[in-house]
């Protein structure tokens, strides 16, 4: 009951705009979950989170409900909210969903992309490769986050708010899955799929871009080791 929840920015991020504190709490928690600063299964006690952010349980509850809708948190009646702990089954469904949606997004992107967008992508890519070369857990986190952001940027350019929301959810869930099942941590070992993808986009080559997207998703998925899960539960039951 001490300093258990390591949400880093605790107490500090006094809502910038002062409006919609639930939203900003959601964002902080979401970042913490996606960054794996909060391990799957961690209990998110309303009171604890509340004191941490210095708000009442009411607003915490709203934030947790939002996260539950995105699938990042699972609430059990009368038991509380827990950082969700996707099964291998769910992990596969996440990527199956992305395989459906992202090729469509990339097509829309090619239809609508502007030179300004392209340069934004390029500078993002530069930051990504920078993270990839650095060492340490922090850099790894930044890399995973940046990688997800690339896909979110694509979704934004595609110009469909609904699909953008779906991608938001899928990218967050993917990060969680990668954090859980990712082998080694080098999620995109060797490949630099994003750069290739961007080239195809710039060339307005839809089929090629779509193929690259599918290949990219395949790469991410191939880096997962979905067996471990059973062992983890076992270990959980025995030790820690």
């Amino acid at each position: 009951m001490d300093k258990s929840l390591q949400i880093a920015e605790a107490r500090l991020p006094l809502d910038p705009n002062q409006e919609d504190r639930a939203q900003s709490i959601r964002d902080s928690l979401r970042d913490a979950i996606v960054d794996r600063r909060l391990a799957p299964g961690t209990k998110l006690s309303e009171a604890e989170v509340g004191t941490l952010f210095d708000v009442s349980r009411t607003v915490v509850r709203a934030a947790l409900q939002m996260l539950a809708f995105e699938g990042l948190v699972k609430v059990e009646r009368n038991r509380g909210a827990f950082v969700s702990d996707p099964t291998p089954e769910e992990a596969l469904q996440v990527f199956a969903s992305r395989r459906l949606i992202e090729p469509g997004i990339i097509a829309a992107v090619i239809e609508r992309v502007t030179p300004a967008d392209v340069s934004a992508f390029r500078s993002h890519l530069a930051a990504e490769t920078r993270h990839k070369q650095e060492r340490g857990a922090a850099a790894r986190r930044a890399e995973i986050k940046a990688s997800g952001d690339f896909h979110l940027m694509l979704a934004a350019v595609a110009g469909n708010a609904i699909l953008q929301k779906f991608m938001d959810e899928l990218v967050a869930r993917s990060s969680l899955v990668i954090a859980l099942y990712g082998r080694s941590g080098a999620s995109s070992c060797g490949h630099n799929d994003h750069a290739d993808l961007l080239d195809a986009v710039e060339a307005h080559d839809v089929p090629r871009a779509q193929a690259l997207m599918l290949r990219h998703i395949g790469h991410i998925e191939a880096d997962l080791d979905l067996r471990v899960k059973a062992g983890l539960t076992l270990k959980d039951a025995l030790a820690i």
Copy 2:
């Protein structure tokens, strides 16, 4: 402030399982919105809904928040919740999203469908055509709802919980859009796309089923008249 909100089942549906009253309120409101018993733009006052279902505002808020996540309700800070009133732009995005997702779903369905599923589809189809032949607003509502349910059944058979959730949202939004912009009301005038689709599924003909699905979505979209919206806002500004 009298009997304003016509949610029909008001006060009666005392939660069957007694658990999660917010969920059942959400379901009632959702049905009412999709059925167009609650017109787009209608204000959903927390207090009013609360008395109607005989719960406190707290739980109503939770229900409204859920609906907001699905896009069926729009909440404006310090102003309250309103049945959402999709713009033509949003309407197009709904169908663009379905065009991406549903062909994938139909492919998954063909991979996993069982004879039991097929017969369930058949009996559902029978009910659908029955509604189509009846007259009156109630039958029309039932027809729209049944039509949406067909797509939801497909999503269920596809076996991907995430996509199923997305389809849930998309179907609900579609119903709202059809209610708003649907020409004449005969949403599927003449065609019986669902039957054809089911035939293709039964024949395990993926390309054909996908093509039929796209054509079907096209039919629905073709029945919309997306111009009116501007006129409505104008009329809104003047009268009522």
